[in-house]
Symmetry: C2
Subunit: 220 residues, 2 copies
Amino acid sequence: MNALNITVSDKLYIKNPDETELGRKILSKSIELLNDLGYEHFTFKKVGLAIESTEASVYRYFQNKHQLLAFLINWYWGWLEVKMANEFIVLNTPEDKLRKAIELLVYPMDQDERIPHINENQLQHIVVSEYPKIYLTKEVDQENQEGYFLGYKRICDTLSLLALQINPDFKHPHSLFATVIEAAQSQQFFVEHLPRLSDAKKGQKDIVSFLTHMTIKTIQ
Amino acid sequence: MNALNITVSDKLYIKNPDETELGRKILSKSIELLNDLGYEHFTFKKVGLAIESTEASVYRYFQNKHQLLAFLINWYWGWLEVKMANEFIVLNTPEDKLRKAIELLVYPMDQDERIPHINENQLQHIVVSEYPKIYLTKEVDQENQEGYFLGYKRICDTLSLLALQINPDFKHPHSLFATVIEAAQSQQFFVEHLPRLSDAKKGQKDIVSFLTHMTIKTIQ
DNA sequence: TTCTAAATGATAGTATTACTATTATATTTG
DNA sequence: CAAATATAATAGTAATACTATCATTTAGAA
């Protein structure tokens, strides 16, 4: 089991960056630069320069930086889904699975050496800092049809089914897990930057225990 | 009680737009254009044109569109705080107050005729669609010091105190209400654009009942 | 091996954005 | 009425977000 392929909708790129050396370099350097500069200051020109290629080459893989961000974030959800599936194998109750899922959402990721061009940890930081920007746009409806948000929706569905195993009468599973997933990101951001919006001290444990408490109580 | 003044930090403008005719026109038209175009397509040039003034004039009031958005969103939180305080007068239990607060977060606002240049309903839509963009930037720490997020933090504090009245041992009041406030916004957005991320059908009632349920259960 | 197609590099160019600066003309205030 | 202030009109700059063209390199098929 050496090969691992995270697949994202082919509407999320012009040319599949996983399939070429240059494409993988673009992904790798984009993750680094998005982390360092933030989405607003990130440009394709800077990527081209940093990989000693050109702006035009980057534009052959992605229409614009918005599409690139959407690609990366979908890749992240796809990868998290794989991780969850792996962890769930040895867990027997839906509650244990939910607890594990929340941990995976919050705890830092270790590098997967099968995919050396993606730094999962940096990618997680990008998700924390940039995630809502991919859907909070005027183009959301069209991009939704093109599958820009499938990764997120699938995770949300998976967790919803677990909640219904615990309480089949629970009325708000999708709303709850959309909320939990967003809170997992925003609480990480708040602890770091706006600590008055969180009770968690630095470190992920407090966030996990808040989210777990809220999830379990709400389902019941 | 005819005068009503929502005050925001003076770091959120160059020149106070509430104090001049032109300033109020800028606010009024910016709210309209932000709604129509979305933050990304919104520019000061378009505002200047639409009010038959100039781009340069708009720049005399706000450093850039980011500051303008932060101003508007802080104004919204300030105004919501006033609304909550008014409603709380006739409510006696903290639980009733929390229920009311959640309703105020979600139900559409009626126009306050004391402030004719601010369309509260449009402003609420801007908050739903653009809110996280004001803090998800590399400049967040500096802007936090300048009071860019005070409005949000104060609402969060107020609601936290109510939760502690219900259960003084509750460990996560700030995290909970940061989460509830964000979910109030994002669930409104999801119902409209990404319905698979919500169980609420169109209309705000389902969102309110989800958020209320989650809040009450989590506090206990 | 050679031919062909595809990928990349190098370069140029355009429209728009996000400002800054200057000067002239109103308008307000003391 | 003078002085200060606000606004309008205009110009200009650097960066961004692309698009286009053509030459060169590389890879794959015949």
